[in-house]
C-alpha cells in the first residue's frame, strides 16, 4: 500500500515536464497567420536563441483582453495586434519601448507607432472577398461597392466578422461613411447593417480558421475580409479574389510590441526585431500577402505586384480615426450585440 502511494507521488513529480529551456509566449492571430509563423518565423528564432515559443492564437480583441486580464502578472511576452487595437494597447500602457534602434530606423515612418513603442509588421487592406469560381458559374457580377453587401442575390451567402474583430469595425464604419455618417456619427452604419446587410449574413464569424472553412465548404460566396487572408488562401489553391470597393479599401497594419512587465523581456525585444527583419518580412509577403514595413526589403516583381508595397500605395487606402473608435468601442460592441448580431 505504501509503495503504491510513493509510486504515485513519484509519477506526479516526473510527469511535470522538465523546463530547462527559456520560454517566450507570443499572442498573435490564428489560422493561416499561425501556420506561416510556425513555418517561417518561429523555428529559426527558437534555434538561434535556445528558447521555446508558446503560441497563443486569438484575434486582436482576444489578445488585448488577455493583456488586460493579466495586468501586473503578464505571461505574454510579445503581442501582435491590428493597428487600431494596438493604439489602445499603447494607451493602456501594455507596450515597452522598442530597444533595437536599428530595427526601428529601418521601417517606414508610418510603421512606427506610439513614439517607438510598437512596430508595424505588415500592410494589408480590408475589402470584399469572393469565390471567383462560384461567381463565374452563377454569372454574378463581382461586388464593386460596400453597398453591394446588401444585394438581394447574396441572401444568406455572406459572412461578416463580428465587432470584436477589426474587419467588423471596418465594415461598420464604412457602412456609416457611405450613408452620410462616420466614426463620430455611427447611427447610419448601424441602420445599414441591421436593415440591409443582416438579411444576407449567414454567420458573423470572427475566427479566420472558421471563415476559411465557410469558404471551402461553399456555404458562403463572399465575405468582408483582409487582403492577406485572401492571399494565403489563394496561395493554397482556392479561387478567392478580393475587391477594393469603390469608396475605398481600409488600411490594416499588423503591429507588434514587447509587453511591459513580461518575463524574458530581452527575448521579447529580440523577437520583435526578428519580425521586422527583411527575411521574415519577405516570407510573409510571399506567403501571407502582407506588404513589408521594412524599407530594405526587396521583393521580386511578381510578389511586389500583389502586395501593398511602399508608402505611396498605403496612402491610397482609407484610414480611420482610431482615437474616436477606441473611445466608443465598448458602446459599439453593446449596440452591435443588441441590434445587429441577433
Amino acid at each position: 500500500m505504501r509503495k503504491l502511494w510513493l509510486a504515485a507521488l513519484a509519477a506526479m513529480a516526473v510527469a511535470a515536464p522538465a523546463a530547462a529551456q527559456q520560454r517566450l509566449v507570443v499572442a498573435a492571430y490564428g489560422g493561416s497567420y499561425e501556420r506561416i509563423m510556425r513555418e517561417a518565423a518561429i523555428p529559426e528564432f527558437e534555434r538561434a536563441n535556445n528558447v521555446r515559443v508558446d503560441y497563443l492564437a486569438g484575434n486582436s480583441s482576444d489578445s488585448l483582453a488577455r493583456l488586460q486580464a493579466q495586468r501586473g502578472r503578464q505571461e505574454i511576452g510579445v503581442v501582435l495586434l491590428d493597428d487600431g487595437p494596438m493604439a489602445q494597447a499603447i494607451a493602456l500602457g501594455f507596450c515597452q519601448r522598442v530597444a533595437d534602434r536599428e530595427a526601428l530606423d529601418s521601417l517606414y515612418p508610418i510603421a512606427v507607432m506610439g513614439e517607438g513603442r510598437a512596430l508595424g509588421t505588415g500592410f494589408g487592406f480590408t475589402g470584399i472577398a469572393y469565390n471567383s469560381e462560384l461567381f463565374r458559374q452563377r454569372g454574378l457580377a463581382p461586388p464593386q461597392s460596400w453597398a453591394d453587401l446588401g444585394r438581394p442575390e447574396f441572401r444568406r451567402r455572406l459572412a461578416v466578422p463580428g465587432i470584436d474583430n477589426t474587419y467588423g469595425v471596418h465594415t461598420l464604419v464604412m457602412m456609416a461613411r457611405i450613408n452620410g455618417g462616420g466614426e463620430r456619427e455611427i447611427a447610419p452604419g448601424f441602420r445599414a447593417m441591421r436593415e440591409r446587410v443582416n438579411p444576407n449574413v449567414l454567420a458573423y464569424e470572427s475566427s479566420p480558421g472558421k471563415m476559411s472553412e465557410l469558404f471551402q465548404s461553399g456555404e458562403i460566396w463572399l465575405a468582408v475580409w483582409g487582403s492577406s487572408r485572401v492571399a494565403a488562401m489563394k496561395e493554397a489553391g482556392f479561387p478567392l479574389e478580393i475587391v477594393r470597393p469603390r469608396e475605398g479599401a481600409v488600411v490594416l497594419m499588423t503591429a507588434t510590441c514587447a509587453v511591459e512587465g513580461a518575463p524574458n523581456s530581452d527575448l521579447a525585444q529580440k523577437f520583435v526585431a526578428h519580425l521586422v527583419s527583411p527575411a521574415v518580412q519577405a516570407a510573409f509577403a510571399a506567403q501571407y500577402g502582407s506588404g513589408p514595413t521594412n524599407r530594405h526589403v526587396q521583393l521580386p516583381p511578381d510578389i511586389a505586384g500583389r502586395v501593398i508595397y511602399g508608402e505611396a500605395q498605403v496612402r491610397e487606402l482609407v484610414s480611420l480615426d482610431w482615437t474616436a473608435i477606441n473611445a466608443s468601442r465598448t458602446e459599439w460592441t453593446r449596440r452591435w450585440q443588441r441590434e445587429v448580431e441577433r
Partner: protein, 266 residues
Amino acid sequence: MTRNGPLALAFHVLFVLFMAAPLLVVVAVSFTGKGYLALPFDGVSLRWWRAFAANTDFLASFWVSLRLGMVSATLSAAIAIPAALAIVRRRFPGRDALAAMLVSPLMIPHVVLGVALLRFLSGFGLAGSFLGLVAAHLVVVTPYMVRLVAAGLTSLDSRLERAAESLGAGRFTVFRRVTLPLIMPGVAGGWILAFITSFDELTVSLFLASPSQTPLPVRLFTYIDQMTDPMVASVSAALILLTAVTLVVLDRFYPIDRLLTGERRA
C-alpha cells in the same frame, strides 16, 4: 420478471445508437487522410494521429490535466473522509446544513463558480496558477467523493471498530487499521470518479487557465473555436478510447452504476 418485447428492444437499440453515434463518428473521422472532417472512406490514415503526437501544446495540456486530476482527487479524499465520518456517524448541531453545503457545488452553475473563483483568486494573484486550478477542481469534485465515501460508511458495521477498541487499540490505529481498509472501496471509487470529473472539467477551468496551465478540455475547446480540423478528432478519439478502456477494466471491480451513485446494482 417478463423480458422485454420487440418494441421495447427496438426503442433500446435506437437509444443506444443515439448515445453512441457522436462518439463513434469522432473516432471514425480521426482516421481520415483528408485535410477536413470526413469519414475515412478513401482509406484509413494515421496522419492526424501523428499530428497529435507531434503537437507539444496538446501533450503539455494532457500532463497538466493528469497532474491536476491526481492532486485534486487526493486532496479531496483527505478532506472528504473525515467529513463523511462526522456526517454519517455523529449527530451534532448543523450537521444537515454542513452536509448540504458539502454537496452544494453540484447545484451551483459552473459558470458562476468560474466567475467567482476568477474574481476571488485574482485578488491574491493566484488566477491562472496551478494552485488556483486545484482549488477550483477541489470544490467541483469533493461532492462526488463525499457521496461515495458516505455510501461506503453507511454499510459499514461499526462492531468491528468497537471490537478493535475494546482490544486496546488507540483512536488513530482503529481508523488506520480497521476503518480505512473497510471503506477503501468507497474511497477508491470516489477517487476514480473525482479524477475523471477533474480531467473532463471545462467551464470552471476555462476561467482559470493561463498559457502555461491549460487543461486538456480547455485547449480542445479553444482550438475548436479557432478551427475544426481532424486533429481535434484525433485528440477527442484518444480521450474516448482512454475512457472506454478505463471503464471496461474498472467494470470488473466497480460496475459503473455503483461508481456513479455508490449504490449496488439491483
